[in-house]
């Protein structure tokens, strides 16, 4: 799949898709979207890049091994679930929210961090699977 068109397009599509994935991640609380879908879109961005430019270049672009995102994401979700237990002695996963909205993002609470954790796990898992398969192929 070494075509000039795909290669040029992927350079533009990578940032666009990543921004779109974050948009999907943030709108996910009341509207369709969220960490899982956002993570998949982000993974697609990197897979497309790998198609056009080769696996090595994408790995270089990522710098860290995508598998490392799994424990990081899990830890983030875990901590955001645990925060109400430690802070207020509320049950696990109770949502804590900032009193005021933050511009652009909207209301910020533990649920957002939980979703970011999911996002990271999904990116990590998907990329690890796809990279492993394309390496062994």
């Amino acid at each position: 799949m070494k075509t000039l068109i795909l290669k040029t397009a992927s350079n533009y599509l990578l940032p666009v898709l990543l921004v779109f994935s974050i948009f999907i991640l943030l709108r996910g609380h009341y509207l369709p979207g969220g960490g899982f879908v956002g993570g998949l879109i982000a993974a697609i961005a990197f897979v497309l890049h790998a198609f056009a430019n080769g696996l090595e270049n994408t790995k270089h672009l990522l710098r860290i091994h995508p598998g490392f995102l799994m424990p990081v994401g899990l830890a983030l979700s875990f901590v955001s679930g645990l925060a109400p237990v430690i802070g207020l002695d509320d049950p696990f996963m109770t949502g804590l929210w900032l009193p005021q909205d933050v511009p652009v993002i909207g209301s910020v609470g533990t649920a957002l961090f939980f979703d970011i954790g999911v996002y990271l796990v999904v990116v990590g898992v998907t990329l690890t699977i796809i990279f492993t398969i394309s390496e062994s192929a």
Partner: protein, 507 residues
């Protein structure tokens, strides 16, 4: 912090798995973290058990969503006892894995997945929501798929395909049953369901749903016509994996059966009859299956099936005495079966074979180890005062009381056949002169490995044998515990009240 107490065992397992994932390639760190974490987990579970024992059923509404709508975690005495047993078996297998699992497997995430499996088990025991129970079952089977295939030997993959197919089918049936139940009642909370299912007018559909649950859980707990995946797969992975599978995975199916049929579908004569028949046939077929096997681990696999029968028969009779027997048997079986599979691993490590025909002369070479192995083997048979004896008293008394002489016959038959099987195993493996076993190349024989690692092999077996001895000699305490659980299970209003509050004040 005290109100959240019952969730801490769950959260600690999650924390351990996440922590272990950060040390993906550093296997020595992983060994240390897993063992230390499991010790802390045991202490924590014991503390929570003590708390629940003193203060009665505890509940947590996850995310502060109120009971019939959100997900609740309920720690009644049964759930918390099983959590404690999970952490006992978890600690033993964790130590045993650190010694026996080869580094190639450890490098591909054995320990994180192992703790995810324990997480799933504890979640399944604690949850009070039937769909959440399905989710925990998924966590359990996904982790177990990884554990059973890790290493990718040919026999392992063959076993895994059978294991995967039937367990996947069981999950589908379970999910269908949940869907029908939700369609009937519009609720997923088990305590809420208990009231709503009783009020449904279409009894035929309720019965069909119950049978769907029975098939789903039946496959998972390996009862009579649905057990064929178990002996086909349990002897293929490393013995540490078989130990946790044999000790806990089928028991979580039994737990789900007990929970669903004591809480949601109660006072249904037809179902009780089915359970009784299934239990009796399981006792017969598992016992006869064990008789003709040659591989030590296959013998133990068939004995798992056989002894699941005791618990199902007890559940089928559904009197307080019978349930107490079932629970006692569950407690005894988890410790002994975990131990037996670790022992089969130790025998393999010493001799390089698990074939009963080839093995022999174990007693003359390792007299002390043989005496140690004697404890769990004959606890399984139930020679008084060892642990397998006591629950059978309750079960036999109950079958006299309910007049089900078929189950009485099956219980006695299964006890005898277990005795025959274990006696045969003892004679073949420990007493007779050894046959020719081909030397394995590139294999760490037990007499070649260093002393600390040898101790690591034996310590978990000693630990679980002591637990078995305690269950046998301290039978009074265990009987007290099982009677209390039986009392809670036969009168489900206690559970419902704990979850939903007092119905009189609400409505």
């Amino acid at each position: 912090m005290m109100q959240q107490l019952i969730l801490y065992p769950l959260l600690l397992q999650l924390l351990l798995s996440i922590l272990l994932m950060f040390f993906w390639k550093k296997i020595n760190w992983q060994r240390g973290i897993s063992i230390c974490g499991s010790i802390v987990h045991l202490a924590l579970s014991a503390y929570v058990f003590n708390y629940v024992w003193r203060n009665g059923t505890q509940i947590i509404e996850a995310g502060s969503w109120e009971a019939p709508f959100g997900i609740v975690f309920v720690a009644d005495t049964l759930a918390i006892t099983l959590v404690l047993l999970t952490s006992i078996a978890g600690l033993a297998v964790s130590i045993f894995s650190a010694a026996s699992i080869i580094p190639d497997r450890l490098k591909f995430g054995y320990f994180p997945i192992f703790h995810f499996l324990l997480l799933g088990l504890i979640g399944a025991f604690l949850t009070g929501d039937i769909f959440n129970l399905y989710v925990w079952f998924e966590i359990i089977i996904i982790s177990s798929f990884v554990l059973i295939t890790l290493g990718g030997e040919k026999a392992q993959l063959e076993g895994a395909v059978k294991y995967f197919t039937l367990n996947f089918l069981a999950s589908m049936i379970f999910l269908t049953a949940i869907a029908v139940l939700y369609g009937l009642t519009g609720s997923l909370n088990m305590a809420d369901l208990a009231g709503k299912v009783a009020a449904v007018e279409n009894r035929a559909l309720v019965e069909i749903t119950a049978v769907l649950f029975l098939i789903g859980f039946g496959i998972k707990s390996a009862v009579f016509p649905l057990y064929f995946w178990l002996p086909a797969s349990y002897h293929t992975p490393p013995s540490a994996v078989s130990a946790i599978f044999g000790g806990l995975l089928t028991k979580v199916g039994v737990y789900a059966l007990i929970r669903v049929f004591s809480l949601i579908f109660v006072e249904d004569v037809f179902l009780d009859q089915i359970l009784l028949v299934i239990g009796i046939l399981t006792l017969f077929s598992g016992g006869v299956g064990a008789l003709v096997q040659n591989n030590v681990r296959k013998v133990f696999s068939y004995l798992i099936i056989c002894h699941i029968g005791y618990m199902v028969v007890g559940l089928g009779m559904f009197t307080e005495v019978a349930i107490a027997g079932t629970i006692f048997y569950l407690i005894h079986d988890i410790t002994v079966k975990t131990n037996l599979f670790m022992i089969s691993g130790l025998i393999f490590r010493i001799k390089g074979s698990n074939s009963m025909r080839a093995l022999g002369g174990f007693y003359s070479e390792y007299p002390k180890l043989s005496l140690l192995i004697f404890i769990p083997l004959f606890s399984l048979v139930g020679i008084p005062p060892l642990s397998g004896f006591w629950p059978k008293i309750s079960l036999i008394t109950a079958s006299f009381d309910t007049g089900s002489y078929w189950s009485l016959a099956a219980i006695i038959f299964a006890s005898f056949i277990t005795l025959v099987v274990i006696a045969k195993l003892w004679a073949e493996v420990f007493w007779k002169n050894p046959g020719k076993i081909p030397k394995r190349i590139k294999f760490d024989y037990f007499h070649n490995i260093k002393k600390p690692r040898k101790i690591q092999f034996v310590v978990p077996i000693v630990f679980l044998s002591i637990v078995s001895l305690y269950i046998g000699f301290g039978a009074e305490n265990i009987q007290l515990l099982s009677s209390r659980i039986a009392e809670e299970l036969t009168d489900n209003s206690q559970y419902i009240e704990a979850v939903l509050g007092n119905p009189q004040t609400d409505e």
